[in-house]
Amino acid sequence: MGCTAADVVAALRAATAVVQEHRDELVRLDQAIGDADHGENMKRGFTALLSRLDGEDLTTPGKVLKMVATTLISTVGGAAGPLYGTAFLRASAAVGDAAELDCEAVARALQAALDGVVARGKAVVGDKTMVDALTPAVAAASSVNGSVAAVLSAAADAAAEGAESTVPMVARKGRASYLGERSAGHLDPGARSTALLLRAFADAARGEGAAT
C-alpha cells in the first residue's frame, strides 16, 4: 500500500508528460497577467528532470524528491523555480530515509511543501498564487485516511478548486500584482500548474495502487 522510490519516479514521469502537454496553456495564462514564461519554465525544468529519473542513486522517495528539488532550482528560474524547488526540498526532508511512504507521510510531505513555499514567497491565501491551490490541497490530504492514491486524489480535487478560486482575485504577489485590478478575471498560472502536478501524481498513484 506504500509508495516506493519507483512509484515516485513513475509519478514524476507522468507529471512531466502533463507539464509538456499543458505548456502552451500555462504560457497563455502567464501572458495574460505576467510575462508569458511559466509554461516554458515548467517545461524546461521537467524536461531536465526526465533525463535524470533513471539515476542509480534514486533509492528512496526522499532522494528522488531531493533530486527533483535541485533540478527544478537549477533549471526553472523565475519565481516558480525557487518556489517549487523549496517545496520538493522540504517534502524530501519531511519524508526522511523511509523506503516507502504511507498516506500520512504523503500528507506530511505536502504540508512541508506548503510551509516551504510560504516561507520563501510570503504569500497567503487570497494573494492569487500557487498557495491558493496548495493550501486547500494540504488540508484535504490531512483529512483523508486511506490509500496514498486517495490522499493525493483528494489533494488534487482541492487544488483544482483552489486554482479556480484565483480567477476573481486581485494579485498581491508576483508579477501579476503589477497589474492591480487588471489582474482580476484570470486564472493564476502557478496555481494551475500546482493543480496539474497534483492531479498527475494522483492519477499515477491510482494506476499503481489500484490493486492494493
Partner: protein, 330 residues
Amino acid sequence: MKKIINDPETVVQDALRGMQAAHPDLLSVHYDPAVVVRADAPVQGKVAIISGGGSGHEPLHGGFVGRGMLDAACPGAVFTSPTPDQVLDAVSRCDGGAGALLIVKNYTGDVLNFETAGELAESEVRSVVIDDDVAVKDSLYTAGRRGVGGTVLLEKIVGAAAERGDDLAACVALSERVIASVRSMGLALTSCTVPHVGSPSFELADDEMEIGIGIHGEPGRQRVPVGTASEMVSALLTPIVEDLPFEAGDRVLLFTNSMGGTPLIELYLAHGIAEQLLADRGITVERRLVGPYITSLEMQGMSLTLLRLDDEMIELWDAPVHTPALRWGV
C-alpha cells in the same frame, strides 16, 4: 513572429556565442551554466559586482561586463530570472577575496533565485535590490516596485566604486544611496514578442499606447491614446519628479532609454523635451545617457530615469568604464 533567430530554444545561447565572438578581449562566456564573465576575472582584492536577470533586455546585463562595471552577468532564459547555480558560478569565478555584491532587480523570481544563491555561496556575499519603477505602487498589495532603468546607473556607479577599491560594505552603502535617489518610468507604443511564445505579449491598437510598462512585456498601468512626444515625455517625467521628489536646485543624471525598437532619432527628440521640462522646473541636468540600454526585445517605446547626483556619484559616473555597451576613459 519575424526574428533573426534559428530556434527559440537556443536563442539565448546563440546570442551569447555572438557576444563572445564580438568581444573576445572583454568577455569570457561560459555556457553551462550560462555566465558572462570579465576576461580578467577574478580581480584580486576587488569586490566582485555581479548582476543578472532574464535575457531580452540587452545590453543589460552582459553588455555591462568589463572594467569599471560588472564582473559577471547571469543571463536567464528570455524574461526569466537566472537560476542560483548561475549566480554561484559567477561568484566563484569572480571572487577576488573581497567578496561579491549581487545587484538584483526587484522581481519575485530574481529576488528568490539570488537569495538562494546567496545562502549557498561560500564567499562573502551581499545583495542589494533595486526598485526604481514609479509606475508600480509600492504597497502591501504588490510585489513592490520593479527594478528598471536605474539598474544601469547603479551598475555603473557601484562598478566604479569597486574598481577604485571600495570594500563590500562601502559598495552596499553606496548602492543603497543610489537606489534611494533614482526613479524611472516607461511606456510602450508596441508590444514585444517572446521567441518561445511567438505572439505579441499584449495587443495595442494603432492609436493606443501603454503607460507604466515594465521590461518584460507585461501590460502597463494604463492604456491611453497615442499623444505627441511632449505629452509622452511629460506623462513619464511628472510622476518621476513628484515621487522622490526631485526639486529645483537638484543636480541629476537624465537617462533616456529606448525599449529596443524605438530609433535614436525619436529618442533624441524625447530627450530634448525632457531636458527642457527639467530646466523649466529648475532641475539641473549634469550628466545624461541616451540610447537602448535596458530593453524589452523589439518593443517600441521608451523609459526615462532620473538620478539625483551628489559629487561622489558624479565622480564615479565619470570614472573609466570599458564594457561592450558603455565605454569611456579607456
